[in-house]
Amino acid sequence: MKLFMMTLLTFLTSGQAIAHEWTPTYPELFQSYVKGVLQSELTLYNARKDVEYYEIGVFDKDMEPVSFAVSQRIINVEYQRRKKVSVFVRAKDRDRAVYVCSKSKLLKDSGTKALITSNICSKYKR
């Protein structure tokens, strides 16, 4: 009986593979339309059925936060959709900004049994 329950649980919880993708691996920082501000373009692909929101962050080599601007820090990406994200960093922070990351946000009342948060960090090209 116990074995049957375990098999059933495994089957129920592993039915759908759900993935998170953040590209490119090494994005470039290029001059934006604002003087003194650099821009990078990244793409987020959400194949996680249990996640609709992702948080964008820019960090230094020690994973300490670096100031940045983005249209929305927490973005809504529907299931099986891609979203292009423009991330802006001050030119004076060019050397400090090392990683640009997207992290899944789990809703407290989503009703899912999500046990896994995913975080993918790309590294700015030098």
Partner: protein
């Protein structure tokens, strides 16, 4: 004469339209994809213990890492050290966790288990081989000194990170 030639010309034009080719374009680029293979469930074998161990009625969460190119990323997997949702707990919860390679797409990836670095609740692995690796996370929470967990819903999260090197 025209009546005989015209249909032949029209058919020729139609056949060239049917033979049009539709291109499908794709790019394979360096990337890391984190896939939640199995969500994970806590079993409650004794009143004071919650565990994802299969022998205790739990299901360990499994995360799959896909990397297109070797040596571009490292994986950081953190097992839980706190509940994200639980009833009010008046005593200490002692956490134990373990991250292991469960399945591999390339036999040499099994070396990840020996090469992994452990600190705090984090397991760090350099993804030195292109392909897919499945990591199994075992998490156990013991409440106080053999105290019974209060009834209610419990939830904790494993953090799976993929950092470009």
């Amino acid at each position: 004469m025209l009546k005989k030639v015209l249909p032949v010309v029209l058919m020729g034009l139609m056949s060239s339209a049917v033979a049009a080719e539709i291109p499908i374009v794709g790019t394979v680029e360096s990337k890391c994809v984190i896939t939640t293979d199995t969500q994970g469930v806590y079993g409650n074998p004794t009143p004071s213990k919650l565990t994802t161990n299969m022998s205790d009625g739990g299901v360990p969460p499994i995360v799959r890492y896909d990397v297109i190119q070797a040596d571009y990323y490292k994986a950081l997997i953190s097992h839980p050290e706190t509940f994200t949702e639980s009833p009010a707990l008046g005593d200490v919860v002692n956490w134990v966790g373990l991250v292991e390679v469960a399945e591999v797409s390339d036999a040499s990836m099994s070396a990840y288990d020996n090469d992994k670095r452990l600190y705090n609740n984090v397991t760090e692995i350099d993804l030195t081989i292109a392909g897919s690796t499945w990591f199994k996370v075992t998490s156990t929470a013991n409440y106080g000194y053999d105290k019974a967990f209060p009834a209610g819903q419990y939830r904790a999260t494993v953090q799976a990170e993929c950092i470009a090197i």
